[in-house]
């Protein structure tokens, strides 16, 4: 009797265990990357990314995935940000600013051409900048509202006149709104980008990879690589495995920081760690009870221990900032002391506000950092008597619709990656945070239009005010974590712009 039983159970157990093991393994398995390049070749590299763009047209589609791949690499602006976040010349060799700070005269490169063969001239500057106002559909286009006219002086000189001085306008010109388009190259922006950049789109296998090839007639310093493959992964572990098995050469952003261990003690790989301009924000719906009460918002901020949050949720990678300004910006100030971790004070503030048994909806994006941080936030809020109900929403579509568009939420968690976005979040009462503070708006306006020397002080004051008002909680600054095969050079220590600059990428012969 025992033998058939044993055989039966053993056989069945093996089969079931095998299935379970396979399921576990499959969940963490690389999706058989087709990628490129062994160690000996330096002509092409592949770089792993997490979010594939839905199309390539950032004039009509939101999301950082498109400029990340296209800006600087395929499209160029008059200026760009270097890896320290400084504005440096690109299609403009130089520029003059008038004394009243309203007229910018750009002196353009005379040998730049678009990938459709057309020469880049001042006409394209006029065309591209005017088009932002007339044809762009994303909210970022408001960066060009301050422009009153764009004129061509001669083929290599363009003059931009602003309605009022703006300290942030030239900086914005280095982002996607400053990208230069060809007058004959906008027929199919979603699939066929035409820019002046060092790379052109070679192919796009949807759901898998975008391949960029060096543009043969590039006007500037030619990139060292002939080909760059941007390979997209839905799963952080799959991307890790692709690097381990040679499917890719670089992980552009590590989304599973606990897994870094497998790369840090291995001479085959190099880990780059720095900062980004992405603030992981615990956002509050400031217009809706009970979070329209400052005391409740402050209580939540006092209840959160940010240091242990970063340690448990994101393996200690990431900086506690206490405000909406990253250390790479000139008006950064350590605001972690504004509302320190103090559960007793949090309880007192809740009592003062007359809130007991507070229940809040925490509608987060279903992204690894948000789901991890959300669980810590929930547990820490429970200590002071607040019940947070976590609801992960599919990102981007559902989250953008429910939280971002309709503002149907109490609290959310999202990484705001755009550089210098203090004004975008807290200066506009219609933004999903629904934060309306005239004093902050006034300071932001003053920082932009006032003398440049006052900008830093005004921005600092606005950031401090937002933090003191507890308009949101700032969980941590998202780290720039890159893992690359040893020998890959040109990767940014700090990610300060919205593009992932592939033009300086290279790999020594090994």
């Amino acid at each position: 009797m025992t033998r058939p039983l044993l055989r039966l159970v053993a056989g069945r157990a093996t089969a079931v265990l095998a299935t379970a093991v396979l399921a576990t393994a499959a969940a963490g398995c690389s999706s058989g990357s087709g990628g490129s390049s062994g160690g000996s070749s330096v002509k092409s590299l592949s770089v792993g990314f997490v979010a594939e763009p839905s199309n390539l047209d950032f004039t009509t589609t939101d999301g950082v995935a498109i400029p990340q791949a296209m800006l600087v690499n395929v499209y160029e602006g008059l200026v760009k940000l270097d890896q320290d976040g400084k504005i440096v010349p690109l299609l403009a060799k130089s520029w003059d600013i008038s004394d009243d700070r309203k007229t910018y005269t750009f002196h353009l490169q005379d040998n730049a051409t678009f990938t459709n063969g057309k020469k880049f001239t001042a006409d394209d500057v006029v065309f591209s900048l005017n088009r932002v106002k007339t044809d762009w559909k994303v909210s970022l286009k408001s960066a060009m509202d301050v422009v009153s006219s764009v004129e061509k002086k001669d083929d290599t000189t363009a003059v931009v006149t602003l309605a009022k001085p703006s300290n942030s306008w030239l900086y914005k010109m280095a982002t996607r709104v400053g990208a230069m388009f060809s007058r004959d190259g906008i027929a199919d922006l979603a699939n066929t980008p035409v820019g002046t950049g060092p790379y052109k789109l070679e192919s796009w296998k949807r759901g898998d990879a975008i391949t960029l090839a060096a543009s043969p007639n590039y006007w500037g310093t030619k990139p060292k690589l002939e080909k760059v493959v941007l390979k997209y992964f839905k799963d952080a572990t799959a991307m890790n495995n692709a690097l381990l098995t040679g499917g890719i050469d670089v992980i552009s952003t590590v989304q599973a920081p606990e897994s870094l261990q497998q790369f840090t003690n291995n001479s085959k790989y190099e880990v780059i760690e720095g900062t980004t301009t992405g603030e992981v924000v615990l956002s509050f719906n400031n217009s809706k009870a009970p979070l329209n009460d400052k005391r409740v918002r402050q209580a939540i901020r006092h209840a959160i221990n940010h240091k242990t949050l970063v340690e448990t949720a994101w393996a200690g990678r990431g900086q506690v900032i206490g405000g909406m300004v990253p250390p790479s910006d000139p008006w950064y100030e350590d605001l972690t002391g504004v509302t320190p971790y103090d559960p007793a004070k949090a309880k007192a503030l809740l009592a003062e506000a007359g809130q007991s048994n507070l229940k809040l909806r925490l509608r987060i994006a279903n992204l690894p950092y948000a789901v991890a941080a959300g669980q810590v936030v929930k547990s820490q809020l429970a200590e002071v008597g607040i019940t947070a109900d976590i609801e992960p929403l599919e990102f981007p579509a559902r989250w953008l619709d429910v939280v971002f568009k309709q503002a149907d939420y109490d609290m959310s968690i999202i990484n705001h990656v755009e550089p210098r976005d203090l004004g975008a979040l807290f200066g506009n009462p219609n933004y999903y945070l629904r934060y309306n503070n005239p004093k902050v708006q006034e300071l932001l306006a003053k920082a932009d239009a006032g003398p440049e020397s006052d900008q830093i002080a005004a921005m600092k004051e606005a950031a401090r005010l937002v933090s003191e008002d507890a308009a949101a909680d700032f969980l941590f600054l998202f780290p720039n974590l890159i893992v690359a095969e040893t020998g890959v050079t040109g990767l940014p220590k700090n990610l300060v712009s919205e593009s992932f600059d592939l033009t300086v990428l290279a790999k020594a012969k090994g």
Binding site: V16, T24, G28, T312, Q375, V376
Partner: protein, 282 residues
């Protein structure tokens, strides 16, 4: 069938029922106990004790990266597993079986219609259905279970129809029909008992699929909400630590394997036990 062969069969079916019953019982027991007692709070984040090792100190099976007790989470996760399995398979069996039987017994154009509608549902991705339901009724564990259940209806309907067709041509059904018994009576008295065994096997297979589907849905944000533990979520959360702390994947993996094995054996045993042909051999 010779007598010794039949006897062996009888012994074997007892064994698989006992082992399967014990494993399922263990899961049920863990789930029930978790309502009144767990070693630690399964959702409390405790940074001071994160990634504590197993079999030492306060935590029998160690803690995860949030410092939560793995054993407590496994116990509470058993609830989710049973809940998902029972609701999803229940919906599929209760709706799918009569549909399949109807199609098999009635035949003709109405039977065809049922099966074509069935094919339509079969072609519809379960995950998409869950996301649709989640968007309409709000994402929760219940909508996920209902979606998994509805998506599993075709599996039951097909199996039920196929078996019903063969049962309808047996002598005893023909006899019952000629004796003028109603269709309903034939369905309940003759068809259902004769197709029950294969349906039970189908149920145990669907149960395993439901557990895994719940894990996928939770990942997409359409299943169990974090931090509520489910074995699938635990497995998914352990992924990034697979190299440094593999035990975090091992325990929920083992739990899923044992539960699936248990239901499988129990289903097998029940099939043999219920099969009228085999019962006569006793």
């Amino acid at each position: 069938m010779s007598a010794p062969a039949a006897r062996r069969r009888v012994r074997r079916l007892n064994a698989s029922m006992v082992v399967g019953g014990a494993l399922v019982g263990l899961v049920v027991l863990a789930a029930l106990v978790s309502f009144v007692w767990t070693p630690h709070d399964p959702v409390h984040v405790d940074p001071a004790h994160r990634l504590a090792p197993a079999f030492g100190g306060d935590y029998l099976l160690g803690t995860d990266k949030f410092g939560r007790d793995v054993l407590s989470r496994l116990m509470v996760g058993a609830r989710t597993t049973l809940y998902v399995g029972i609701v999803a398979v229940g919906i599929a069996a209760v709706l799918g079986t009569p549909l399949g039987m109807l199609a098999g017994m009635v035949g003709g154009w109405s039977g065809e219609l049922v099966m074509r509608a069935n094919d339509l549902l079969f072609a519809f991705p379960a995950l998409l259905l869950a996301i649709m339901l989640g968007a309409v009724f709000g994402a929760s564990a219940l909508t996920a279970m209902v979606a998994i259940g509805v998506a599993t209806i075709p599996a039951f309907a097909r199996v039920a129809r196929g078996q019903t067709l063969s049962v309808m041509h047996t002598d005893y059904v023909l006899a019952a029909r000629s004796a003028g018994r109603s269709r309903l009576a034939i369905a309940l008295r003759h068809v259902l008992p004769n197709i029950a065994s294969i349906l039970i096997v189908q149920a145990s297979v669907s149960f395993a699929i439901a557990i895994l589907a719940e894990a996928a849905l939770s990942f997409l944000g359409f299943g169990t909400r974090p931090p509520t533990p489910s074995w699938g979520r635990m497995l998914q959360e352990s992924q990034e630590l697979l190299f440094s702390t593999p035990r975090l994947a091992f325990w929920p993996g083992l739990a899923i394997a044992l539960a699936v094995l248990g239901f499988n054996l129990l289903g097998d045993g029940l099939r043999d036990w219920l099969d009228p042909k085999l019962r006569e051999g006793r």
